[in-house]
C-alpha cells in the first residue's frame, strides 16, 4: 500500500509544511512533523513545501501500461450548428505548440451533422488531420455516443495527448472518455508545457477555488488528457493556405445509441453581448445596492460597447441572471478591459477575471481586495464615479 512518511533524520521541524496541508493533517510534535493518518488524504500538497526533502510519498510499483506507440496531439473540437466554437480555436493554438515541441502531428476530432465546413476550418486553424464523424444522431452533443466514439478513436489511433475545453460539454464528456481509456485527466488547465527530456505533459491548474496552483502529470498512462479553461490560451490564426487531411469515420447503431436526448434548447440573455466573447466587460456587485441601479452599469457598458457581468452576490440577490456571473462558479473571462463596480474582489470572483489585460476597480473601501489586481483603482462611490466615467468615455469614444 502507498503511504506518506516524514523522514525523521531530515525533518528540522521548521513547520513550513503545516500550512501547505489543505486538510490540516500535519502538526509539530517535539520538533518533528507528524502526519495524522485519519485526516491525510495523500493529496501530495505538502511534499514540495518541505525544503529539506523530509516528506516522502511512497507509491507502490504500479503496472505500467505500454505507452510507447502513442503518438500525436489531439483536440476535441466543439461545434454548434456546424460552427467551430472559439474554445476549440484556443485548443488548436495550444495543441499546435505542443505538437511542434514534440515533433508530431496535430489532429482534431469533430462530431456533428453537416460539419464539412468546420473540418476545413480546423485545417486552416492548424490541424494536420481531422477525424470527422458526421451523423444526424450526433447533431446535438450527447454524452454517451460522443464518449464511445472518442474512446474508440483513441484506441484505434493512439494519440499521446488529448485536449478538450473545460466547457459544460467538455467537462461532461472528457471525464467519461478518460475512464474508458483508463488514463488520467487534469481538469481546467490554465497552462500546458512539455517536459522535453521525458516527453511528458506538464499540466498546471488552479484548485481550492483559485487559492493554489497545482502542476499535474500522467506519467504511466496514455493518452495524457486535459481540459483547458476558456479564454486563457490564444486562438490559432486562420491560414487558408494550410493543407491537411480529412478522415471520415462512421459508427454502428450501438455506438450511436443514447439514453438521453435533448428535447429543447433555451438561450437566455440573447440581446446581450456574450460574456466570454466580449472585449470589454463592466461588472456590478453588491455595492450597486439595488437592481434598478444596474442601469448605471449598463450605461457604462453601452458607452464602451461592452457586456455586463456580475458578482455572485448580485446574481444571488436576483439582480441579474446566472449567465452573467463571473468567477469560480460562473464564467471565466479575460477581456481587454474589465471594470468592477462595487465588487469587493473575493478570491472566487478574482479567479474568473484576473487574467483580463486591464482591470479598473471602483470601490469606496480603499482596503477592498479588488484593488490588489486593479490596473486602475478609483476609491469612491459608484453612484458618483459611474456617471462621471460614462460621460467622459462617451465624449472620448464619440469623437
Amino acid at each position: 500500500m502507498s503511504d506518506i512518511e516524514i523522514i525523521q533524520d531530515k525533518c528540522v521541524g521548521c513547520g513550513a509544511c503545516l500550512s501547505s496541508c489543505p486538510y490540516g493533517a500535519i502538526t509539530l510534535q517535539d520538533n518533528l512533523a507528524v502526519i495524522d493518518d485519519d485526516k491525510c488524504t495523500l493529496c501530495g500538497a505538502c511534499v514540495s513545501s518541505c525544503g529539506f526533502d523530509a516528506i516522502l510519498i511512497r507509491k507502490d510499483q504500479v503496472e505500467k501500461a505500454d505507452i510507447s506507440d502513442f503518438k500525436g496531439v489531439w483536440v476535441f473540437a466543439e461545434q454548434k450548428n456546424g460552427q467551430v466554437q472559439s474554445i476549440s480555436y484556443e485548443l488548436m493554438g495550444e495543441g499546435r505548440k505542443l505538437a511542434d515541441a514534440l515533433g508530431v502531428e496535430l489532429a482534431a476530432v469533430i462530431m456533428g451533422h453537416k460539419i464539412g465546413d468546420a473540418c476545413q476550418d480546423l485545417i486552416w486553424r492548424g490541424a494536420d488531420k481531422v477525424y470527422a464523424v458526421d451523423d444526424p444522431a450526433l447533431e446535438h452533443f450527447c454524452d454517451e455516443p460522443y464518449a464511445r466514439i472518442m474512446a474508440d478513436l483513441i484506441k484505434e489511433y493512439k494519440p499521446e495527448i488529448v485536449l478538450g475545453g473545460a466547457s459544460t460539454i467538455g467537462r461532461a464528456l472528457i471525464p467519461r472518455v478518460a475512464i474508458k481509456a483508463r488514463t488520467g485527466l487534469t481538469a481546467d488547465c490554465t497552462s500546458l508545457a512539455i517536459d522535453e527530456e521525458k516527453r511528458i505533459l506538464l499540466q498546471t491548474r488552479p484548485a481550492f477555488g483559485g487559492n493554489i496552483m497545482a502542476t499535474i502529470i500522467c506519467p504511466n498512462h496514455r493518452p495524457q488528457m486535459a481540459t483547458v479553461r476558456h479564454k486563457v490560451m490564444k486562438e490559432a490564426e486562420c491560414d487558408k493556405t494550410r493543407q491537411g487531411q480529412i478522415i471520415k469515420k462512421s459508427f454502428d447503431k450501438a455506438t450511436l445509441a443514447s439514453r438521453t436526448s435533448v428535447a429543447q434548447v433555451v438561450e437566455e440573455a440573447t440581446n446581450m453581448i456574450k460574456l466570454t466573447e466580449a472585449d470589454i466587460i463592466v461588472s456590478g456587485g453588491r455595492g450597486m445596492k439595488a437592481p434598478e441601479n444596474f442601469t448605471l452599469v449598463e450605461n457604462l457598458a453601452r458607452a464602451v460597447g461592452g457586456a455586463v457581468g456580475a458578482s455572485r452576490a448580485a446574481v444571488d440577490a436576483g439582480w441579474l441572471p446566472y449567465s452573467h456571473q463571473v468567477g469560480q462558479t460562473g464564467k471565466t473571462v479575460a477581456p481587454k478591459l474589465y471594470i468592477a463596480c462595487g465588487i469587493s474582489g473575493a478570491i472566487q470572483h478574482l479567479v474568473g477575471m484576473q487574467s483580463s489585460d486591464c482591470i479598473i476597480a471602483i470601490n469606496k473601501d480603499p482596503e477592498a481586495p479588488i484593488f490588489k489586481v486593479a490596473s486602475y483603482g478609483i476609491v469612491g462611490d459608484v453612484f458618483e464615479v459611474l456617471p462621471a466615467l460614462t460621460k467622459k468615455l462617451q465624449e472620448t469614444c464619440g469623437k
Binding site: 500500500m1 502507498s2 501547505s20 489543505p22 486538510y23 490540516g24 493518518d37 491525510c40 488524504t41 495523500l42 501530495g44 500538497a45 514540495s48 510519498i57 507509491k59 504500479v62 459544460t168 467537462r171 464528456l173 471525464p175 467519461r176 478518460a178 475512464i179 483508463r182 488514463t183 488520467g184 485527466l185 481538469a187 484548485a207 481550492f208 487559492n211 496552483m213 497545482a214 502542476t215 499535474i216 502529470i217 439514453r259 438521453t260 436526448s261 435533448v262 428535447a263 433555451v266 438561450e267 440573455a269 440573447t270 462558479t329 464564467k331 478570491i347 480603499p366 484593488f371 489586481v373 486593479a374 490596473s375 486602475y376 483603482g377 478609483i378 462621471a388 466615467l389 468615455l393 472620448t396
Partner: protein, 261 residues
C-alpha cells in the same frame, strides 16, 4: 425510489486567510464542511423522496473524520450513510475515486437516481460525477438546475449551458450533477439532530466492496500532483483617491494610451 447522494468533505475554502508576512495560505484551523454543492444534491434527494417515496443514502470516500459530514447529512433527514474508508483508498485521483464510489454503489445494490454536486470546492475538477456514471454504465446529465418530471423509469431535467439551458430526457437509473440554482438546502431538524447524535455510518473497506487494489488510491491513480504553489499576484496598479473627475480623467487617458478605447 432508491436515491444515492455522493458527498465529499472539504476544507472551507472561503475561510482561507493569507499570511501577510509570507504571503502563504493559513490553513490551520480551517473547518471541514460538506462540499457546498453536495448540500444541494442532498436537498434534491430529500425532495424526490418526499414526492416519490423511497430511501436516501449518502456515500462518501475519505478518512474516518468524514463521519462528521455523514452525521450532518443524517441530521438533514437522510436515511442512511456509508463511508468508504481504508488507507488504501488515500491519494485517489478522480479515476480511482470514481471507481471506488462506483464499487460502493454496486455493493449497495445500485440506485435509481444518483446525485452529485457539480464540483468539489477543493479538487475543483467536476470529474467524479461523470466518472461514476461511466463506471456504472448509466446515462448522466451534468449541471442540472431543475428536475421537471420524474417517475421510476425516466426523468426530464434542465441542464445549464453557457447560453442558457437545455431540457434533457433520460431513462433511469441516471446520474445527475447539480448546480446551486436547483434549490435552497434545508437546515437540520431537531429530530434529525437527535438521530445524528447516535448515528454511526456503515464503514466499508476495499475488501468489502471487492475493489481491485490496482484501481484504488494512489496506486490506481494515473495522475500525480508534482508541484503546488500559490498563484502569482498581479503587480499593483495605480490607486486613485480624492477628486473623482481627476481620477476619471486619469483612467480614460490611460485607456487611450493602452489603445483600449
Amino acid at each position: 425510489m432508491n436515491i444515492v447522494v455522493c458527498i465529499k468533505q472539504v476544507p472551507d475554502t472561503t475561510d482561507v486567510r493569507i499570511d501577510p508576512a509570507t504571503n502563504t495560505l493559513i490553513r490551520e484551523g480551517v473547518p471541514s464542511i460538506i462540499n457546498p454543492f453536495d448540500m444541494y444534491a442532498i436537498e434534491e434527494a430529500l425532495r424526490l423522496r418526499e414526492k416519490l417515496g423511497g430511501k436516501v443514502t449518502v456515500i462518501s470516500m475519505g478518512p474516518p473524520q468524514v463521519t462528521e459530514a455523514l452525521k450532518e447529512a443524517i441530521s438533514m433527514g437522510v436515511d442512511d450513510a456509508i463511508l468508504l474508508s481504508d488507507r488504501a483508498f488515500a491519494g485517489a485521483d478522480t479515476w480511482a475515486t470514481s471507481y471506488t464510489l462506483s464499487m460502493g454503489i454496486r455493493k449497495m445494490g445500485g440506485a435509481d437516481v444518483i446525485l452529485c454536486g457539480k464540483q468539489a470546492i477543493d479538487g475543483d475538477t467536476a470529474q467524479v460525477g461523470p466518472g461514476v456514471a461511466e463506471f456504472l454504465d448509466i446515462p448522466q446529465v451534468t449541471y442540472v438546475k431543475k428536475i421537471e418530471q420524474i417517475d421510476d423509469k425516466k426523468a426530464k431535467v434542465w441542464r445549464m449551458t453557457e447560453e442558457g439551458y437545455e431540457v434533457v430526457d433520460t431513462s433511469l437509473p441516471a446520474m445527475f450533477t447539480v448546480v446551486k440554482e436547483i434549490n435552497e438546502p434545508r437546515l437540520p431538524s431537531l429530530k434529525g439532530k437527535m438521530k445524528a447524535k447516535s448515528f454511526q455510518p456503515t464503514i466499508w473497506k476495499a475488501a468489502d466492496i471487492a475493489a481491485d487494489e490496482k484501481n484504488i488510491g494512489l496506486n490506481g491513480s494515473p495522475t500525480n500532483v508534482v508541484k503546488i504553489f500559490t498563484p502569482p499576484v498581479r503587480s499593483g496598479g495605480i490607486i486613485l483617491q480624492g477628486d473623482i473627475n481627476e481620477a476619471v480623467a486619469t483612467v480614460v487617458e490611460g485607456l487611450k494610451e493602452r489603445q483600449i478605447i
